[in-house]
């Protein structure tokens, strides 16, 4: 049953999908750390990204320009998030509101339902799949769908860009400062409301990017964001909310655990292994692997 070769292959494919999970989780945790809210509509931005990808590939660019479509999908979801935030989320901070968490939860769940219904209304309850011209590729000893390899590489590139943005630019410094202390950032002259919109845009764009990259593999339909959202939140619990390293390590860990479980235990239960991991982490470190003890929302 156990062979080193199978183990290596499973590990590689687990890490590859884990990078995409990490993208989702990073989006959730990033929005949380700046805007101080959980965006429950994250999966719907994943869905938006996948629809934009499909429309762009099927009707305008063709499968050869899939990468351009990915850029358009990511930019498109960023723009939608950037424009929606001042309308829906900003009132939460601008009018010193009580029970902010309740407000954010209700508003983002309403947004979730609206976007999902919109997808049904426009595209119908059908599944779509953007064409891909990428051939089978060899990753070490492992033959893999080209789209899967491309998705992993693009996700890594996006993570690298995110890192550069956060550590090397003025915007990144302002975002890090705001994440640590909103009031101090404001008294330093940082326009935190504009940063909220930018952060919300970046966070949902990460989901949109994941949606666009995974569209050829996991298909495009109104509720395709549900599974990835659940995984995103599993990772947040595993890694610790508000922690960027937690989101990355948690994503890889979840991908690997799922793959290993599917290969060596039983594949129909693939989604359950993640939950087992969540329970395990909660028992040992209730605040997550990288979370801070007693952190307040």
């Amino acid at each position: 049953m156990f062979s080193t070769e199978l183990f290596t292959q499973t590990l590689i494919s687990g890490l590859m999908i884990g990078v995409l999970y990490a993208l989702m989780a990073l989006g959730i945790t990033f929005i949380y750390s700046i805007v101080r809210m959980i965006n429950w509509a994250m999966g719907e931005f994943y869905m938006l990204g996948s629809y934009i990808q499909y429309v762009a590939v099927a009707y305008a660019l063709g499968p050869k320009l899939w990468w351009l479509a990915v850029i358009i999908s990511t930019a498109g979801t960023f723009l939608i998030g950037y424009l929606i935030e001042p309308i829906l989320i900003k009132p939460m901070h601008a009018r010193a509101m009580e029970r902010r968490d309740d407000y954010a939860t209700v508003v983002t769940i309403a947004l979730l339902l609206m976007l999902r219904s919109l997808a049904v209304a426009i595209g119908g309850p059908y599944q779509f799949r953007p064409e891909t011209n990428l051939p089978i590729m060899w990753v070490g000893p492992l033959p893999m769908e080209g789209a899967r390899v491309a998705a992993c590489l693009c996700a890594l590139l996006a993570l690298a860009l995110f890192y550069v943005l956060m550590s090397k630019t003025w915007m990144g410094l302002a975002l890090r400062a705001t994440a640590q202390n909103r009031v101090a950032a404001q008294t330093s002259g940082v326009d935190v409301f504009r940063l909220d919109a930018v952060a919300f845009g970046i966070g949902v764009a990460l989901a949109g990017l994941a949606g666009a990259l995974l569209a050829p593999l996991f298909l495009v339909y109104p509720t395709n964001g549900v599974v990835t959202t659940v995984k995103g939140f599993e990772i947040i619990v595993i890694g610790g909310i508000g922690s960027i390293p937690g989101a990355l390590i948690g994503g890889l860990l979840l991908g690997v655990v799922e793959s290993l479980g599917a290969a060596f235990i039983s594949s129909p239960y693939q989604n359950a292994y993640g939950f087992a991991l969540v329970l395990l982490v909660l028992m040992v470190r209730p605040y997550g692997l990288f979370g801070e003890r007693g952190r307040e929302a």
Binding site: Q180, N181, V183, A185, Q186, T187, S188, D191, V192
Partner: protein, 244 residues
């Protein structure tokens, strides 16, 4: 000297409590003013309202003859009115140097990065924080955080008024002296204006030629500390009626 910061009839209510009741104050350019008063007199409320953390119910605030009433904190900061907090608010997971660069870049990005870096080095030297420049701010002591917070305020290009809320509370004497030197240095070389809320009368006497006394939400007296300290109403407010 022209009045740089002017408040007129500044009023702030919390439910039935009148925290600030028509506060009028005039701060001249280049002045170091002390703001004293018993606990609950409304000093911190006044600071919050002036710096845009809270909005006044009535009254007006003018900075260099421009009305800033009701503006957001970051806009007020960008116009040159910055504050420090009683419990220093620094960015714990940024380095000391990065802490200084945030306000520099936030307010005005037309200034060159090189100027900001040079200014940061100057302030790090003056505040004796230079050896810690690359350390995370959360590793600093309470007093060092106070210094860092004050320096962050000095980093904003074109800043005019610094409002310091209890900058000397609970910090050791050496750091206290460093902070005082820093305040005097900024005042002399850059003409910076200060409004310092403090209970440390010795320091206020040393560095503030004039003080304003707030009692029960109103300005009760204004003038040199030694003169004011002899006034009966001030003594009563601080020590209670039974003392007399």
């Amino acid at each position: 000297m022209a009045d740089l910061l002017v408040t007129e009839g500044l009023t702030k209510r919390y439910g039935g409590l009148l925290a600030n009741d028509g506060v009028a104050m005039r701060l001249a350019a280049g002045e170091i003013r002390g703001l004293i008063g018993p606990n609950g007199a409304g000093k911190t409320t006044f600071v919050n309202v002036v710096t845009g953390i809270e909005h006044p119910d009535a009254g007006e605030i003018r900075l260099a003859d421009v009305t800033i009433t009701g503006l957001g904190t970051h806009l007020i900061a960008a116009r040159g009115l910055v504050r420090s907090f009683q419990v220093a608010r620094v960015f714990g997971n940024l380095t000391v140097r990065e802490n200084l660069m945030v306000p520099y870049f936030a307010s005005d990005r037309t200034h060159g990065t090189a100027d900001g870096v040079a200014r940061a080095i100057e302030l790090l030297k003056l505040s004796t924080l230079e050896p810690l420049a690359e350390d995370l701010a959360k590793s600093l002591s309470g007093g060092q955080r106070m210094l860092l917070q004050a320096c962050a305020g000095f980093m904003i290009p074109g800043v005019q008024v610094h409002v310091l809320d209890e900058p000397f509370a609970g910090i050791n004497p050496v750091v206290k002296d460093t902070l005082i030197d820093l305040i005097l240095h900024e005042n002399r070389t850059h003409g910076a204006t200060f409004l310092i809320v403090s209970h440390e009368m010795e320091i206020i006497r040393r560095i503030c030629p004039r003080v304003t006394v707030m009692i029960a939400g109103r300005v009760a007296a204004e003038g040199p500390l030694d003169e004011i300290a002899r006034r009966e109403d001030v003594i009563t407010a601080y020590l209670g009626r039974s003392f007399q």
